[in-house]
């Protein structure tokens, strides 16, 4: 009888916790509770203490160093009630006092030695906080829940087996959708079958798995899907109104050699809406059917109101932004961020259909644009509701490739299954490789202003209620621009490149700008022939907080 009572009590408790809000009900801007601050993907802080007039007075308030600099510091911190939660290299998780920079607690899991043998080493894009816990996706394929106050392990669940599933590690924080914790793995460029995994956020018990590789033989003939890549390596976003998860999937593999996998290769290179409790597909839009250019759909969605309709602007690596209805995934518009694309002639703005494909041909040297890092790398843009503009880094670089067969059985744990015999970043035809920060209308793509960068910016952008846009470069400089016109108002040299999420929060009534500085990125390896000055930039790792005097 007592056992039944306890079971009932526990069930009631779980039910109540499931209904509890994950974030503070009153959003005064003091927190940065989710990866993009909110699941609308804006990366916008409404705080205005640091503004176009006062930003010139910013000073360093404190610095926190995680100690391990391997592959830099790539996280977007989470801030709740003045406490900063972030993760450094090799899954070192910290809770830090947001006013003083002092460590409150530190946790590092004992990682499987296999993490030293994989391609995507050391770096993670953040942690997630909710239900009184701090959630980590590990480099050796686990979800771990830590007590938010103490950093002690509450539960740990092994999700993937890296010996069998190459590249199947978590390089991004799993996200919350109610009391479901979900996340996808890396590995779109590796010979594996990528998935999105979900567990009960309170207990770690498995909830569901979404296979990004469809089992339709017309989509994936024979067993090509088993090494078809896929996965979803960036955080998804929760549509709380519809209890849906919106997540973008990886490219298909082998990346450039598609003749062995004829078919549309669903659901790679797609934006998918999943029912949060079950993982069932509600709708999907495959932006690049039969992807043969490594054009992932993994990047963030930005939700805005358009003529009374909730739409999402979504950038695909291939350089096009698709604007979709958030309710049903129908296409509202498609516009090019890339100015030099040549992989298609165009994309139908009403349907998203590709027009005039330019597929790689086996043995033929071709220049394809954009290159495999895309018109922008994974570093996110930001949207300001004050200006109605989306601010994003962009670059114009192409691939010189020769598509070639590659034996997937010879691809090691750290190898990529690209299907090329030549791969080199080059200038676009008739122009030079270039980079910039754009301010654009997210629905139409109209440019408001643009600033040239000598080397592509690899930091995520921040927009603020103080009328500012913050961006970082690969040398470590963080810039503040006037959000309306792009005028540079302030900069600071942090000493090592910025590959992370710049955020803002307040503690004890004071607004802070928080810049995770410290270079580490796979991008230089791919882009160096187009941007030689990116070679050998210094590494580092320091979380730097700025405030006004």
């Amino acid at each position: 009888m007592f056992k039944k009572f306890c079971t009932l009590g526990a069930a009631l408790l779980v039910g109540v916790m499931a209904l509890s809000p994950i974030v503070a009900t009153a959003d005064d801007g003091s927190d940065w509770p989710r990866y993009h601050r909110l699941d609308n993907g804006w990366r916008y802080s409404p705080l205005g203490q640091i503004n176009t007039d006062t930003v010139k007075n910013l000073k360093v308030a404190w610095i926190h160093q995680p100690g391990d600099i391997q592959h830099g510091l790539q996280a977007t911190p989470i801030i709740l009630d003045g406490i900063v939660y972030y993760v450094g290299a090799n899954n070192n998780v910290f809770a830090v006092n947001g006013a003083s920079g002092e460590t409150i607690w530190h946790y590092q899991p004992e990682l499987d030695p296999i993490v030293r043998r994989v391609f995507y080493q050391a770096a993670t894009r953040g942690v997630t906080v909710g239900h009184g816990m701090v959630y980590l996706g590990t480099l050796d394929g686990r979800f771990i829940a830590l007590d938010q106050k103490t950093g002690k392990v509450v539960w740990s669940r092994q999700i993937t087996n890296l010996e069998e599933c190459y590249g199947c590690l978590f390089s991004s924080p799993p996200q919350l959708a109610g009391n479901v914790l979900y996340g996808g793995t890396t590995g779109g460029d590796q010979p594996q079958r990528g998935k999105v995994y979900a567990v009960n956020a309170l207990t770690g018990e498995p909830a569901w798995t979404f296979d990004t590789i469809s089992d339709d033989p017309k989509s994936w003939p024979g067993d090509t899907g088993e090494v078809g890549g896929g996965g979803a390596w960036l955080p998804g976003q929760y549509d709380e109104k519809r209890d849906s998860i919106i997540i973008g999937t990886s490219n298909a593999a082998p990346d450039f050699f598609g003749s062995i996998r004829e078919g549309d290769n669903k659901y790679t290179a797609s934006l998918v809406s999943l029912d949060a409790p079950t993982g069932n597909v509600k709708w999907y839009h495959q932006e690049v059917p039969h992807d043969v250019w490594d054009y992932d759909s993994s990047y963030e969605t930005v939700t805005v109101d358009h003529n009374g309709r909730e739409v999402m602007a979504h950038l695909n690596k291939g350089g096009f932004v698709t604007v979709l209805d958030k309710a049903d995934g129908s296409v509202v518009n498609v516009w090019p961020l890339s100015e030099t694309y040549n992989w298609v002639e165009s994309i139908d703005p009403k349907t998203g259909k590709l027009i005039g494909r330019n597929d790689p041909v086996e043995g033929k040297e071709m220049t394809l644009c954009p290159y495999l890092l895309g018109v922008r790398s994974w570093n996110h843009g930001a949207y300001s509701p004050k200006t109605g503009l989306w601010y994003t880094n962009a670059m114009e670089v192409c691939n010189r490739i020769i598509a070639a067969p590659q034996n997937h059985e010879e691809v090691g744990l750290a190898g990529l299954y690209l299907g090329v015999s030549v791969l080199e970043a080059v200038d676009p035809p008739n122009s030079k490789a270039s980079a910039r920060l754009d301010a654009r209308d997210p629905v139409t793509g109209d440019v408001k202003w643009s600033i040239d960068y000598p080397i592509p910016g690899l930091s995520s952008v921040l927009a603020t209620g103080g009328g500012l846009v913050f961006n970082g470069d690969v040398h470590g400089k963080v810039y503040a621009y006037n959000a309306e016109n792009g005028n540079e108002l302030w900069s600071f040299n942090t000493g090592s490149g910025i590959r992370s999420g710049i955020v803002s929060y307040s503690a004890n009534g004071k607004q802070y700008l928080l810049v995770p500085s410290g270079f580490g990125s796979h991008a230089p390896g791919f882009m160096a022939t187009a941007f030689p000055d990116v070679v050998g930039l210094p590494g580092g790792a320091a979380l730097i907080a700025f405030a006004l005097d």
Binding site: R116, G412, L423, G518, H522, A528, P532, V535, G536
Partner: protein, 134 residues
């Protein structure tokens, strides 16, 4: 011991093939302790052979170029062209990987020794490019 390892009935004296197995095992163990030494009889034959260099070139493009740059032009770390490397050093790094500061390189020991020497061959050929004389 050898028979037990081979799952065969115990015999009093090790056979010749068993002796060879024991000898080879001990030799391998010694070499492993000594470092990433090769069992390829003459690596120089691979390093100087154009066919092996070409094989290494393709393997480099498929596995190494995305960190080291196309043709070793540099990427995450400085360029591999026009350098003065020792063969054994290259073989060791390819086999075991390395970590230095913020940089890391995973091990590529899943490739056979011959395939790793082919990569060494290609890398050494990058030290003889025309631009290296300038």
């Amino acid at each position: 011991m050898c028979s037990a390892l081979l799952g065969q009935p115990q015999i009093n004296k090790p056979s010749m093939s068993c002796q060879r197995i024991i000898f080879t095992s001990l030799l391998c163990l010694g070499l492993c302790i000594a470092g990433a030494t090769t069992l390829v009889a003459n690596p120089k034959q691979i390093i100087d052979d154009p066919t092996h260099i070409e094989a290494g070139k393709i393997r480099f493009a498929q596995n190494c170029a995305y960190c080291h740059g196309a043709q070793g032009s540099g990427g995450k770390h400085k360029k591999l062209q026009c350098r003065d490397f020792k063969n054994d050093y290259l073989f060791d790094v390819i086999t075991n990987g390395m970590a230095r500061g913020s940089y890391f390189m995973p091990p590529w020991d899943h490739f056979s020794e011959e395939k790793r020497w082919e990569l060494v061959a290609y890398l050494q050929s990058l030290g003889k490019l025309e631009q290296c004389n300038g």
